[in-house]
């Protein structure tokens, strides 16, 4: 397996979506290729750093929320039951 193929398969590797054969091949490549090992580690860290942002609570701006609640109150009677 070439380094480029490893990079292309990283998502599937991290999402545990490789076939057993592909998994074996990519693991063998990581063992033999220091550069790809480094890339895997920093790629993994990248995903971790992106996911760190999950801690940031994205709050709806208060005036927008108030207008939304008012809007829904006005249109509440329009509710249609489709079952």
């Amino acid at each position: 397996m070439e380094c480029k193929e490893v990079v292309d398969l990283l998502i599937d590797y991290l999402e545990h979506r490789l076939t057993p054969l592909e998994h074996k091949e990519i693991e063998a490549h990581f063992e033999a290729c220091a550069e790809c090992q480094t890339f895997l580690r920093t790629y993994n860290s990248t995903v971790t750093l992106i996911r760190d942002l999950r801690q940031d609570k994205i709050q709806i701006p208060e005036p927008v929320k108030e207008r939304l609640q008012e809007f829904l109150k006005q249109h509440r009677s329009d509710r249609t039951y489709v079952q």
Binding site: Y43, S45, I50, K57, I58, L68, L72, R76
Partner: protein, 223 residues
């Protein structure tokens, strides 16, 4: 060990699903506080998603209102076996796309750039080639101080991504949807989701690598 973690995840997922089912039932029963809870939980995320598409706070607000009105009107059609959030996001993406089409028809210029919302960084759109690099900065990324410092850089890098990439990163890495759910929300194939996600992460990876190199240079100059 592996099967234990899968079991744990499914228990957590089940609990979240149960909470959603209860919330949906309360909305169906006309409990006003339940709708407020839904707004409190998803309002910011939907508003931000709409802002990503429309790049205009007024249009984003209209999308937000349309989305929650559609949710309110269609809640009785929502199947109890499904997860609420992918359904909600699908409505949000479709409503945002409709607003975009409306914008194009009326040639509405964007009044806000995403960087105003997520301040600009150094990543160029389309800069997605995997950069061969030998520096292993992954250990530095474990450092709590570095992680705090780099948050803004990561946020900016996401904000500068081309929209198709940004949306997929948002849905997978920030909102935690599965690749299949994203495929359904965006109406694109799973391979397309994976490709966009991978390209987006490579761009952000490159930005972080640059940041880490700069930090290392600063440290070596200081000594």
């Amino acid at each position: 060990m592996k099967s234990q973690s899968v079991n744990k995840n499914s228990i957590d997922f089940g609990t979240a699903l149960d909470r959603e089912r209860i919330l949906v039932q309360r909305i169906k029963d006309g409990d006003e506080r339940a709708l407020d809870e839904l707004i409190q939980h998803y309002g910011g995320k939907i508003y931000y998603l709409a802002l990503q598409y429309t790049k205009n706070p007024q249009d984003a607000e209209e999308v937000l209102q349309d989305v929650f009105l559609k949710v309110f009107r269609r809640i009785d059609t929502f199947r109890a076996v499904a997860r609420l959030s992918p359904w909600l996001y699908k409505i949000a993406v479709n409503t945002s796309l409709m607003k975009l089409r409306e914008q194009k028809k009326h040639h509405v210029a964007s009044t806000i750039s995403l960087e105003d919302w997520m301040p600009a960084g150094s990543t160029e759109p389309g800069d997605n080639s995997p950069e061969p690099q030998s520096k292993d900065w992954s250990a530095n990324a474990e450092d709590a101080l570095v992680r705090r410092e780099i948050r803004q850089t990561v946020r900016r890098a996401i904000g500068k991504l081309p929209k198709p990439y940004r949306t997929v990163v948002q849905l997978r890495d920030l909102d935690g949807f599965s690749l299949e759910e994203i495929s359904d929300i965006l109406q694109i194939s799973v391979p397309a989701v994976k490709s966009r996600l991978h390209r987006a992460r490579l761009i952000i990876h490159k930005t972080i690598s640059r940041f880490m190199s700069q930090q290392e240079r600063k440290r070596s100059l200081a000594h």
